[in-house]
Symmetry: D3
C-alpha cells in the first residue's frame, strides 16, 4: 500500500531539511584532505569464465588513504576510451561476485563498481575494510561515529565515492568526459552526493535513493536502515539534536541542491524503506535537469530491470553521445 | 539453522518415494501426445540496448500445442552452433526481462531460457499462459488439476520443458550435441525431470531443486510452495492418498533415477523451502555421475553466484568440450 | 484499530471509480453468450445425517457452459415454493461440506449455495473447476486473465453467479418471485454484482463486500486478496493502466449503481482486507434502498452471527413476505 | 509440518504423567461439595428466527452453586426424550450465538451446549461469570488459582461440566440413558474429564483434545494456551513443582484412564496447539473402547466438518440406538 | 516511527472524553465503602542480602478488605519520617523481586511499591489475588467485570491504589506530608487516578501513562492492553456503548482534570501502546501544574532511566523539600 | 518450548569444539602486548542523586591502549578495600545509566561495570569506542575483523575484560584478593573467558553465557547474535573454515577448560539465543568447581533476579569471606 503522501502532493513536495552554515567548508576540507593521498589506482585482469566481457580487479586510495576495491568491466576487445558508468552499491552489500551485475558492460560501457567499506557481507560480497573510528553504535554503519560529522562513517564513504570518479578517470578504458554515476538505494544516495560534490559528471542516476531528509525519514518509517538512527536515539535520548546536526552534512536533499548534471531518479510509491517524500524531496531540490520515474505498485525494489532499461536510454542520450 | 538431518546422514540418505507401475507408460504417452503438435519454433531478434549479446524472442509449441515463450541470448556476432544452456525458472517467475540473466551468454553459450506457463508474475515477468483444466486449487499452481495425473499442472510444464530442448535443437545457433539443462529450485526440479525424460543431454545442473520427495517434503516444511499441497489436503482431507498418487508421477527422486547425463546438484543445509534430505534423496538416486555442491550456512538462495561459478567450470568440462 | 477514514466521513464518501463506455455492452454480450448454453439444472438428494433438512447436490451450466456445483438445502418435508436465499462464497472457499452453513434452511428458506470455480481449497471445500484462459498470474485468481476483460476470471465467476439465480428459479422448491442473493466478502461482492446485473431480485445482502473500488483498494491495503493485484503490478510494471481498465468492468461500486433491489450491506471499521471506504463507496452508490450495518470494533469477520441475525429480519421483511 | 513424533510411534506412545495419591478423594469431595447445591435447572424458549429448531436458554447451578448458562436446541416439534449431545466449548469461547452450532439438533439430537465460566469473549460469546479466587495470573484462565488444586480454575470448570450432564438429565427433552459428551480442544478435554468422572454416559467424543499431559505439553509447544503455564513459570520460577502438582489433578491422560464409555478421539498431526503425542497419550490410556481419527495435514482445526460427519455416525451407533 | 499526531498538534490536543454525571458520587461511595474496612497495615523486615537498604514485606487491606501486598524499602539505618514514593506497577507485573527496583530507596526515599491484584505473573512477580466478580472476559484484566462500573476490575485496583497512600501514611518510616505517587504505563495511569482522587499528595509522576482516553485509544492502536477491549467488543458487538460507559468512570483524562498536585508526565512519540495523544489528552487536562517530558524516538519504554533522573530532580523540588 | 536436548542428556553433554595448537601462545602474546600500555586508571566521582551509593566514572586503557570506560559503585561511606564484582555487559549494551544496576553495590560490594567497546547503543547506553580494523561485516560486531584471529573484534574485547580486573585491582576501594567476575549472555561469556585467562579470581558467575561452541551454536539457532556469523557465511560462502578457525580462539568451551575459580553458571532450557547445550558444553568442560543453575521454563532472560539472589549467596561464600 502507499507508504507516504499521494502522488499529486509528492510532485510539489519540498523538504524542510536545512544546510549547516559550514557545509561547503566541511566538504572542501574533507575532499582536500583526501586529495593529499595518492590515488594509487591499480587494475589487474581476472579470470571469470566470461568471454564477452573483460574484468579487472581495481583498487584505489579513498578516505584516509585506505584501499578501496572495485571491479572494472569492459566489453572484451574494446578499444579506446569508453563512456563510463561508476556504480555504488546498496546498504549491506559490496561490489559483489564477478559473475553478477553484467548489464552496463554488456551495453558497451566501461563499468566501475565501487566496493563499500566495511559492508559487503549481507547480500553481495565485498572486500573493503573500514577502519575509521566507531563510537557506541547500533549494529550497522548508520550510527558509526555519528556523534560528530568528522568521525561519521558516511564522511568516509562519500569521500570514497567522490574519489572513485577520479580513479575511473585514471583508467585507460575510461573517457573522462563521459562519466555517469549510478546506484540504487544507498548507491543512489551516493550518486546524488557525488553529483553534488563534483562538477565534471555527464549524468547521475539514482534509483529509490536512500540518505535523504533524515529528520523526516527517521520519523516516518520503521524500516531499516533509517531505523538504526531511531534505535540509537531511543537509547542515546540526549543526542537528538547532535545526531541531526551530524546528519545535516550528509543529506541527499542538500547535496541534490548543488548538483547540476542531468539526473534520472526513480521512486516507488509503496516503498517502506526510502519514503517517497524523501526521494521527491531530493528530486524537487535537484539543481540540474531531473527526470523522475515513478512506480505505482512497487516497494523498495523500485523499477528493477525497468529502471535499468530507462537508464540505458537516458545514458545513451546524456553520456554515450 | 540446519533445517534437516546432519550432513553425514544426508550423504547416504535414501528417499522412500516409490514409482507407480505405469510411470513409463504415462510419460511415453504424454510426450508422444505432445509430439503430435508441430514445434513451430520462431525466433525474432529484439532490441535490448546490449551490444555484446544478441537476444531473440523465441516461441515454440509445448503441451497441448500451446505457445511457450523463451529468450535466446547469444554472444553478438557468434558464428556456428554453440554449446547451449537451456534454463528453467524458479516458482512464480517467468523468463524475466531482457536485461536480466546475462551470465550464460556472456560466457559464450547459447542460452535459451524457457518461460513458465501461467507463472511469471511474482519476481520475474513472463508471457506464457496455462490454459489447462484447473479444479479447486490452493492459490498457486501446485494443486492445479492435482486430482489426476492427466490433469496435473506439472504434466503440462514438464512436457514444455522436454520440448524446450527440441526447440533448442531446432535453432541454428545451437549445437544439438552440446546441450545442458539448468535451473534453480523449480527450475532445478525441471532440469532433473528433463534429464530423466531425455537421453540426449550433455549435462544437467540443478541448484537447490524443488519437486523432490513429495510425501516427505510436504510433511517436514511449512514453507511454500510445498505448503500449497499441505494446505490443499488440510481442506480436502479425503484426498491424501489420491494426491500423493498423482504426485508420484512427477517426483524428482523417481526422475533422477532415470537420468544418466552428468549432473551437478547444489544443496543448502539451512534451506527451509527445499529440505536438504529431499535434494539428497534425488542426488543419491541419480543414475548417472552426480556431483553435490553443499552450502553449510545458506537457505534457499543456495550458492547464488558461487553456484554459477562452479557450474561454469562443470559446463566447460561436460558441454563445451 | 481503524483501518480507514473516520465514520462521519465514510457516511458521505463517494468513490472516484468510473464506468467504461462499453460497460453495458460488455455485460449484455457476456450474459447473452452464456444464455446460449442450456442451464441443465440437476439436483440429486444426498444423505447427510441431518433430519430437519433435506439436501440436494445441484449442478448447472455457468459461463462457457461449464458445470457449476451447488448445494440446495430446504427444511425437511417442505411443500411448495419457498422464499429463497442464493448464497455466494468468500475468497478461497467453495460450497463447503454438507454439514456446514445450516442457518438459512433452518430458518425456512430454500438455500442454494453456489460453488466457486477453481477455488474451494482453502477454508471450505469445493468441487468446481475453472478452465478459462490464464496468462501469467500471481497465485490466486485475482490476476487470472487480467490482461483483458474478456479473459478475466471474474467475468466467468460473475456470469456463474448471475446464472445461479436462473438455476434457482428452475428448481421446484424455489419461489421465483422471492429470491435474495447473499454473501460475505467475495460473496458479498458477487451479491452486489448480481444485484446490478439482474432486475428480478427481492433483496441483496452483502457482508463486508470485496471487489469494490479497485484503484483505491489496491493502494490502501497490503492484505490479500487485493494485494494479489498490487503484486502483479509490482512485476508487470507496464500494465497499470491496462489492468485497471479490465477491473473497471467488475467494480462493485459501478455495479451497485445499477442495483435496485433493497439491500443490506455490512461494514467493519477495523477491516484490513476490505477497506471501509471501499464498502461505503459501493453502499453510497447503490441505486436502490440500502441499509448499512456498521461494526465499530470488527475486522474482516464483520458481524458474523450478528450480521446473520439482522439479515434474517431483513429477509423476512423483503423476501418472505 | 509435523509437530510431533511420527505416526507409527504415536500409535503406541504412553504418557509419563502420573496420578497423585489422593486423586480419587479430591474429585469425590469436589463433586460431593457441588452436589450440595440444588441444580435449579431452568429453560426458557427463545425466539431465534429459525423454524426447524426450537431453542431454550438454560441455566443450572455449577461449582459453588454459581449460575451456568447453556443453550438447548431440539428439532422443532420433537416429542419424547431424545438422544442427547452435551457439548463443551474450546478455549476463549462461550456457548455462542443462537444462530451458530446447528448441526447436532438438525441431526435429531437434543443438544445442550454449556457456557464456559469467565470465557466467552474471544471467538464465541458467552454469558457466564467465574467468581472463584484468582491469584497472580498470566492473562487467560490457565493459571488462575494454580497455586493449589482447590483454587484452580479448572476444578470449577470440570465440576460445571460434570453437572451439565445432571442438568441435561433433568430436562424433559433428554433421554437420560442416551447422553454423549462432545467437544473440541478445551471442549474435548472437558469431554474426556467428564467421561472419567461419570459412569452413566453412552459415548464421549473429543476432537483434538486440550488439557492432556501438562508436563510434556508445556515443554514441547510454544503456542497458547499451554504457553500460559510456561509463561507463569518463567516468572514464578520457584513454583515448577507446585504447579505441576496442581495440574496432575486435571490431566486428560489420567482422567481418560478412568473412562469407560465408547470414545471417538480425533488428532491432527500438524497441530501446534495440542501436540499429537498428548492426544495419543490420552487415547492410548483410555479405559474403554476408543477410536482414533487421524488427520495427516491438519493443524488445530482438526477434521472440522469431517470430524462431525464421523461423529454423527459414531453417535448413531452408540447413542441413538 | 511516529505513532500519532505531530508534536505541535499534540501540545494543544484536547481529548473528547466526557465525565458521567454521577462520576463524583461513584468514587465517593466506592472509597467510603473501602474505608469501612480496617487498613490493617503490617510490615515485616525481610532478609535480602542487601546492606545499604532495609526491606519490609508490607500488607494492607484494599478494596473489599482484601489483602494487598507491597514492599517497603528504606535506606539502612534511616531515622525519622522520610519523603516517600508510592509506586504502582505496569500491566501484567507485580511488586517484583526484592532485588529489583532499588532506585528510590537508594536515593533516600521511603519507597512503597504496591502489588497489583491478580497480575504479577508476566514480567515481575506478584503475590496478591483478585477475587472480584469476573464475567466473560478476554484474557487479561482489561475486560474483567466490564459490563458494569461496580464490577469492573479497575474499580478494585484504583481503590487499592488510593488506600496504598493511606497505608504509607500509617508507616513510621513515612512522612505523611511528603508523599508522591509514581508509576509507568498502568502504574502511571494509577498515579494519575490517585492524584485525581486524593488531595494530600506532594507530587505525581506518570511515565507514558496507560488508561487514558479509552474511546480514542481503543480505536487508534492495535497493541495490547487497549486491544483487549477492542477484542471484547469484536465479540460482544452489542455492548459498545455499555463498555464505554463503564470505562468513562476510570479514564485518566477525567481523573487528571481533578488532580492538583504538581505533576511530571512523560510521553514517547513512537509509543504504539499508549498513543501520545492519549497522554497529552491527560496532561493537557491536568488541573495542577504539569510538566511534560517528551521523548522523540522512544516507544513504550519511554525515557527509562532518563525519566528516573528527571523524576529524581522533580521529587527533590516538590517532595524532599 | 525446549530449544535443545532434554535435561538428562545436557547434564553429560560434551562439546566437540577443539583448541587450536597455538591457542596459549596467541593469548599470551595478546595480553603481553596489551600490558605494554600503561593502565592509566582514572576515577572521578559523579553526582547521581543517590544517597546510599557513591559512583565513580572510571577509565582505563584496554586493548591497543584505547580508553575503556566503566562505572564504579560502592556503598556510601565505605571504608577499606571491599570484596568486588567486576561485571561485563550483554550484547548491544554498554555500561548503562548511572541509575541502573544497583544490586551489587547495595549488597556491599565494590562494583565495577565495564563498558563494551563500540556497543552501548541498543538497550543500555555506553561511551566507549572501538577503533580496531573492520573488514566486510554483517551489522553488529560478531563478524568484525573475523577473517583473522589477530583482527577479530573479540580479541580486543576479551583483552579489555582481562584488563578490567587489573584496573579494579588498582582502585583503592577494591580488595585485590577478593574479586569475582560476573555477567549475563555476552557478559557471561566474557566472565568465562576472563576466568580462563587469569588465575587470580575468587569466583566467576556467568548467566546464560554467550560465545560458547560456535560450530554448534551457529547451526542450531536462528537467533541473533549467533545468527550474524551464519549470515556472514551465507554471503562469504568460501570462508567457513577460516571463520571457524578464528572463532576457535574465542570459544567459551575452550576457555572454561582453563578456568579454576569457583563458578556459578545458569542456563535456561527454553533459551533460543544461547542454546542450552552450548552452555552445558562450557559448564561440563569447566576446570574448577562449577555449579549449574537450571531454569526449566525460561528463555534468554534466564533466572533474572533469581539468578542474582543465588549469585549473592554464592559470592558471600566465595568472595566475601
Amino acid at each position: 500500500m502507499l507508504t507516504d503522501l499521494p502522488l499529486d502532493q509528492l510532485r510539489t513536495y519540498r523538504s524542510a531539511q536545512t544546510r549547516p552554515d559550514d557545509f561547503t567548508a566541511f566538504w572542501d576540507e574533507t575532499l582536500a584532505d583526501a586529495a593529499r593521498h595518492d590515488l594509487d589506482v591499480r587494475a589487474t585482469e581476472v579470470e571469470t569464465g566470461l568471454t564477452t566481457l573483460t574484468t579487472f580487479d581495481v583498487s584505489f586510495r579513498g578516505f584516509g588513504g585506505e584501499e578501496i576495491r572495485a571491479w572494472l568491466r569492459v566489453p572484451a576487445g574494446a578499444s579506446g576510451p569508453l563512456p563510463t558508468v561508476v556504480q555504488y552499491i546498496g546498504y549491506g552489500g559490496g561490489r559483489g561476485h564477478v559473475l553478477e551485475n553484467l548489464v552496463w558492460a554488456s551495453a558497451g560501457f566501461a563499468h566501475l563498481v565501487m566496493d563499500t567499506r566495511g559492508q559487503g557481507a549481507k547480500w553481495a560480497v565485498g572486500d573493503t575494510a573500514d577502519s575509521g573510528p566507531a563510537g557506541p553504535s547500533v549494529p550497522g554503519v548508520m550510527t558509526r561515529g555519528i556523534a560528530d560529522p568528522a568521525t561519521y562513517y558516511y564522511r568516509r564513504l562519500y569521500t570514497d565515492a567522490v574519489r572513485a570518479v577520479d580513479a575511473a578517470r585514471a583508467l585507460p578504458q575510461v573517457d573522462a568526459d563521459r562519466i555517469a554515476v549510478l546506484g540504487a538505494s544507498q548507491g543512489g544516495g551516493l550518486a546524488l552526493a557525488v553529483a553534488g560534490l563534483r562538477d565534471d559528471l555527464a549524468a547521475a542516476v539514482a534509483y529509490v535513493p536512500f540518505l535523504c531528509d533524515f529528520p523526516r525519514s527517521t520519523r516516518i518509517t520503521d524500516d531499516h536502515p533509517y531505523r538504526e538512527i531511531a534505535d540509537y536515539l531511543a537509547t542515546h535520548r540526549d543526542q537528538v539534536e547532535r545526531v541531526h546536526h551530524t546528519l545535516s552534512y550528509f543529506d541527499g536533499v542538500t547535496l541534490a541542491a548543488l548538483a547540476t548534471a542531468p539526473a534520472l531518479i526513480s521512486v516507488a510509491l509503496m516503498d517502506p524503506v526510502c519514503p517517497p517524500s524523501s526521494v521527491f524531496g531530493a528530486a524537487n531540490a535537484y539543481a540540474g535537469p531531473c527526470e523522475v520515474l515513478t512506480w505505482d505498485y512497487n516497494g523498495h525494489e523500485g523499477g528493477g530491470p525497468f529502471d535499468d532499461a530507462r537508464a540505458l536510454e537516458f545514458l545513451r542520450e546524456n553520456v554515450d553521445r
